[in-house]
């Protein structure tokens, strides 16, 4: 069967693709192998799952969830009006190429998601797995080159109104005094004096 055709070099290419080390036309053939062969897709998924778990135990998840994510992305791509194939190709070949490209694009999108997750902090994965909308938005927001998806991406869910989340934007000596005054009452917690006190005493907010 086709499974046997997936030899070691193809496996190497797929591994290189996962690491973002393929260029030229090779990604296309690796993606094509992915689209053709269920075993390849399984390997691909397993590698990423291993990578995820190494990065964060929180990413260890039911494989079904990833399948749903891929299915959701594919469904969205199908609604896309963007022409994915060059017009010069012959008609019969074009039909096949469109399907391949759609799958390949889905595959690239998934790569994009992983690429985005990698450098971010531990909180990103939790956001990225909450349903089909969030991951697409994540990709588009951080990876501008993903132009394919940009047009249908819903506006990324705005954070609570205009809440500033950057310490550099609000911290000044004056505000620090209020923070220090607030932390003097760190005993107001059932977790006990040392716990709350240690926490506030460890972080330097005093105005000196």
């Amino acid at each position: 069967m086709a499974m046997d055709a997936f030899d070691e070099s193809a496996k190497e290419r797929l591994s290189a693709l996962a690491d973002g080390e393929l260029d030229g036309i090779e990604p296309g053939s690796a993606c094509a192998a992915w689209a053709r062969n269920a075993a390849v897709r399984e390997d691909w998924h397993a590698w990423h799952l291993i990578g995820d778990v190494l990065r964060s135990e929180d990413l260890a998840s039911d494989p079904g969830r990833d399948r749903q994510l891929c299915a959701a992305i594919r469904a969205r791509l199908q609604q896309e009006p963007v022409v994915l194939a060059p017009g010069a190709l012959a008609a019969p070949r074009r039909a096949r190429w469109t399907v391949g490209a759609a799958v390949a694009a889905g595959c690239v999108l998934v790569v994009g998601t992983f690429a985005v997750l990698r450098p971010s902090d531990g909180t990103a994965p939790a956001v990225a797995v909450q349903g089909e909308r969030a991951p697409v938005a994540t990709v588009a927001a951080v990876e501008p080159s993903m132009a394919i998806s940009a047009s249908t991406v819903p506006p990324s869910p705005a954070a609570n109104e205009a809440v500033v989340a950057d310490v550099r934007l609000i911290r000044d000596a004056q505000l620090d005094r209020y923070l220090a005054a607030h932390k003097q009452f760190a005993g107001s917690s059932a977790l006990g004096v040392p716990s709350a006190f240690l926490r506030s005493a460890t972080v330097d907010t005093a105005p000196r």
């Binding site: 500033v164 209020y178 005054a181 607030h182």
Partner: protein, 342 residues
């Protein structure tokens, strides 16, 4: 250790990666929500351990993009508690505590601040009396066990029942109950802040003299004593129409917010009223002072790590609300303030 690798929590998570799910399964977590009495028992145990044990370790707090660590020694002898906290990041700073007297010294600038913190001992009474209502606002579940800082720990998930407060995940030492690690969990399940011992020795020999000696050695230091005068919002001409659900006022003081000796513009600045509210696990400070245009220039609504900040003008007054809660809770406090006296 992992926390010395600093910064992104991912690193910490990665270090724990293979300890993860397997652990959870191995020690079958007791399923279901703990009844309220049990919630209280858990918290009391954590609380008692923090007060009665002798321990020494390195404590790391990270959140909002910052990491701070300190070397901590905690001793108790009879009813007395002693603590020495030495910051390991930034400016050199040492904090000594003997019961509710707290000295903070900055050796480089030769400044020492001496505070009397009555609050440090008053709250647990609520917990013991059983009228804390914590169980009404939080739901506590045991989540099996994990290893933290070389100790076997019971994991507790504390979930907020509404959107006015954050959740927590707590790791309590199985043998002593000491809180080894705590995470503040946001509405989306994201970790806003982590505080944890990266290493700790529990049951060290108490050496309270080392703390007391240091507290007596203040020669050459400029000593600053913030003065907090107890007051009531009502007598200051304020009422709170509706306190955010689950919170109650635990203290109200009138104080100077500027460090003594520092006058801004014309003479001493007017005192600031600070009213403190707690829901048993977290707390909120509301500051009220006369509006001064040269100083109170920018309204702010910010959430950094687990701490939210709100500042806004209200007529002739300037309101600052700070708390380890979602920003919406602070808005509620600010909106409920009403001036009664002309």
């Amino acid at each position: 250790m992992f926390l010395r690798a600093v910064a992104p929590l991912t690193l910490a998570w990665a270090a724990f990666a293979h300890a993860g799910p397997a652990c959870g399964q191995a020690s079958a977590p007791s399923a279901g929500t703990a009844p309220q009495s049990e919630v209280r028992a858990w918290l009391l145990r954590i609380h008692a351990a923090a007060s009665r044990r002798n321990f020494q370790g390195t404590f790391v707090v990270s959140g909002g993009g910052g990491v701070a660590s300190a070397r901590i020694s905690h001793f108790c002898e009879g009813p007395n508690q002693y603590e020495r906290i030495e910051s390991l990041d930034g400016k050199q700073r040492r904090v000594y505590r003997h019961n509710d007297v707290v000295h903070t010294v900055w050796p480089a600038s030769q400044v020492a601040m001496i505070e009397q913190r009555g609050m440090l001992s008053s709250f647990p009474a609520l917990l013991q009396a059983g009228d804390d209502g914590i169980g009404d606002w939080y739901d506590v579940r045991a989540e099996g066990s994990e290893r933290v800082a070389g100790h076997d720990a019971d994991v507790l998930a504390v979930r907020a029942r509404d959107a006015l407060r954050y959740g927590y995940r707590l790791w309590a030492d199985r043998a002593s109950g000491l809180l080894l690690r705590a995470e503040v969990i946001g509405e989306k399940g994201d970790v806003l802040e982590t505080s944890a011992f990266s290493d700790v020795v529990i049951g060290v020999r108490p050496q309270p003299e080392t703390v007391l000696q240091a507290m007596r050695r203040l020669d050459g230091y400029r000593v600053v004593r913030p003065i907090l005068t107890p007051t009531r919002l009502e007598s200051e001409g304020w009422v709170v129409r509706q306190i955010a659900p689950g919170f109650r006022q635990v203290s109200c003081v009138s104080r100077q917010i500027d460090p003594p000796g520092e006058t801004s513009g014309a003479g001493a600045s007017p005192p600031v009223i600070q009213s403190i509210y707690s829901d048993g696990l977290t707390y909120v400070s509301v500051f009220i002072e006369p509006f001064r245009p040269e100083r109170h220039t920018k309204p702010v609504l910010a959430a950094v790590g687990a701490t939210s900040t709100l500042t806004q003008r209200q007529g002739d007054w300037w309101i600052t609300v700070i708390g380890d809660t979602p920003p919406a809770t602070l808005k509620m406090f600010a909106a409920a303030l009403e001036r009664r006296k002309p």
